[in-house]
């Protein structure tokens, strides 16, 4: 898919999550997403960004906008070099959390977007990619 823009956003502090949300919202508006689509995608990005910070110990997000003929899309890839997730199936399940959260973050984010990919290697880190097409 042809890439039209790619921005790297650091996730090192709580305020960076706000910056990620704002950047994602701006990209969604540029791609002509409806208000519901924007809100869903921004919320999903917010969940993953918080996971990157809290469980991954910080990392970065690559925000990409794609244009393929008449189709337009936004993709964001979160990478961290944290401890990784040993049991992905368990982590995706609603209500499961190792922190103090609600345990709906990963599962919820997956339901909010069209494409969701997660790869994780214990001791190496975790990568989560979410994408939505218009």
């Amino acid at each position: 898919m042809p890439l039209s823009k790619r921005d790297l956003l650091p996730i090192r502090a709580e305020t960076d999550i706000v910056m990620v949300r704002q950047a994602v919202r701006k990209a969604c508006i540029e791609q002509g997403f409806s208000l519901v689509e924007q809100t869903k995608f921004v919320t999903a990005a917010s969940e993953i960004a918080r996971n990157t910070l809290e469980y991954g110990g910080g990392g970065e997000a690559a925000l990409e906008t794609h244009i393929e003929g008449v189709r337009k899309g936004v993709r964001i890839v979160f990478t961290d070099q944290g401890p990784g997730i040993a049991d992905l199936e368990q982590a995706m399940r609603d209500g499961f959390t190792t922190g103090g959260g609600m345990g709906h973050g990963l599962g919820g984010a997956k339901r909010l977007v069209e494409h969701f990919e997660i790869t994780s290697t214990p001791g190496v880190g975790t990568t989560v990619a979410i994408a939505r097409w218009k």
């Binding site: 706000v18 919202r25 809100t39 609600m102 339901r111």
Partner: protein, 290 residues
């Protein structure tokens, strides 16, 4: 460097130096006449050059020393006002660095016959102006940080307006990002007011919150639970269609809380909780007569 010829040189050619400095400033694009009047700028230049000369005469070119107090004060004030007026860091630094050109020119014409002395004088002058420039930038950054800190404090205060809608009914219009530090303050001030106002119903209005993710939902639920423990019911209002859909997909359960799409609807519920109702005056009068 007590034997420097610089103070003497400045004293003899002060007016000339100032004119050239003004020229260099406008060449460097540091005048910004939209932000600052030319007379004001000239006065600043004259003040600064005069106090630099005095400081040099009094002793040393160590700008952290006692003799340089007035210069430091002037520069701090200049960078503070410039940070507030919206000058860029480059424009602020150029104000000081533009002094180099006229000084060097003057030195060159003075010491043309003595190259060794010229190099020495040029070197000491450039170090001095550099130090002054760096000091200016440091003060400028400090001033900017002050502005940012003040704005942050103002925002924290802004973020927690608990308003009383009626006897026993409070509303908390939440606006912007509900990150944890702010939510903590919101929650504390709300619970405090619940006690002092003897409240039956609290309305948490999230119309101004653009994103409701699981952390925000969790904060809201915690606030609701804490208020309930104190005997106060909570209503969450301002749930827009896109937020409702997002919450459903996230799988967050808000069914234990009364939720309404608008603050007006939530207020109606709160009134009925208190056995109150809003009626038209005419209808009320007719009811009283009958």
């Amino acid at each position: 460097m007590p034997d420097s010829r610089l103070p003497d040189l400045i004293a003899r050619h002060e007016a000339d130096l100032l004119a050239q400095w003004a020229k260099a400033l406008s060449a460097a694009g540091a005048t910004r006449e939209d932000l600052m009047k030319p007379e004001e700028l000239r006065a600043q230049c004259a003040d600064l050059l005069g106090s630099v000369r005095q400081a040099l005469q009094r002793g040393g070119n160590d700008i952290t020393g006692q003799g340089w107090e007035k210069v430091r004060e002037l520069l701090t004030e200049i960078s503070r006002t410039r940070a507030q007026q919206g000058f860029t860091p480059t424009a602020t630094a150029s104000f000081v660095f533009s002094l180099k050109e006229p000084l060097f020119q003057r030195l060159r014409s003075e010491h043309a016959a003595n190259p060794a002395l010229l190099v020495e004088e040029t070197w000491s002058t450039t170090t001095l102006v550099d130090k002054l420039g760096l000091f200016t930038i440091e003060s400028y950054i400090k001033a900017r940080e002050d502005i940012i800190r003040r704005q942050q404090e103002a925002m924290l205060e802004l973020s927690t307006p608990v308003v009383k809608l009626w006897d026993g009914i409070l509303a908390l219009p939440l606006i912007g990002t509900l990150d944890s530090a702010r939510t903590q303050i919101v929650m504390e001030s709300l619970l405090q007011r619940v006690v002092t106002e003897s409240t039956d119903v609290v309305i948490l209005d999230i119309t101004g919150v653009p994103t409701v993710d699981t952390l925000v939902a969790q904060h809201l639920l915690k606030t609701v639970t804490a208020a309930r423990l104190m005997g106060t019911d909570c209503i969450i209002s301002g749930i827009r269609p896109q937020i409702a859909q997002t919450i459903v997909h996230l799988g967050v359960d808000l069914t234990s809380v009364i939720t309404k799409s608008s603050l007006a609807d939530a207020f109606k519920v709160a009134l009925s909780r208190r056995d109150l109702m809003v009626v038209k005056r005419k209808a009320a009068a007719a009811g009283a007569q009958a």
